[in-house]
Symmetry: C2
Subunit: 141 residues, 2 copies
């Protein structure tokens, strides 16, 4: 029998919450998306290319607007969970058609589940993932 | 006499830590940059266009590499501090020449100062900051 520690259980649940986020995203399921965001904490959301949106009402409205236009066929990979002071920082790569984006999703444990306080995503350079400000890959820093 | 509460003091100190981060960035000051990152917590860093970098050694190495190429003339504005479960989430707009980037910097209170656990930045669309996946502004979601 394998012992699952609390930390492992947290990480596994955070991975599931991240997958649930992308499922709601892909399906344009506003109710599921709403349920995934924290209610007792302030929340922030930075869609790619857009400024940071503050506050639950504005964040959920942004998802509503996005879903109204038709949610993108988004998928995710490379999920990595880092627990910092009891919060789950999940980094992953988002895939929309042939574009890749880097994302960070931060969850707090609230009412028995992981709930989002931050979603932040930005387009990844096409040619590589290295940091080389001298390259022509479009990295600014 | 104005009473400054703990929360206000935290926010003010987080704003100062964020300014110190951009000062170290602009000046290419690796020692100051190193001192700004947490030592007792895991850290993550997503430079624009690049994948997420995990771990203190790799993150500091990325700043070393970036500074070796010459730090960009970066400035910041629109700083907004949100305290979530004792951590400071600072969103701001970065300015490098005529480009604007959206950034989220997350700090933990460690050894009497705010220290970074996450820096994440991505290019903002040139034409507006709205979220409109139907627009031609390059937003993917």
């Amino acid at each position: 029998m394998r012992i699952v520690t609390g930390a492992e259980a947290d990480e596994s649940a955070a991975r599931e919450a991240n997958a649930a986020f992308y499922a709601a995203f892909r399906q344009g399921d506003l109710e599921a998306m709403d349920a995934l965001w924290a209610r007792d904490e302030p929340v922030l959301c930075a869609h790619p290319g857009g400024g940071t949106i503050h506050g639950r009402i504005a964040v959920i409205a942004s998802w509503h607007s996005l879903f109204t236009h038709g949610p993108p066929p988004i998928d995710h990979s490379d999920d990595r969970v880092t627990i910092i002071r009891g919060m789950a920082f999940v980094s992953c790569v988002e895939h929309i058609a042939d574009r890749r984006l880097g994302a960070t999703n931060v969850f707090v444990w609230e009412q028995g589940r992981w709930r989002l306080v931050l979603h932040s995503a930005g387009l990844l350079s096409q040619d590589d993932e290295s940091i080389d400000p001298g390259s022509t890959s479009g990295l600014l820093h």
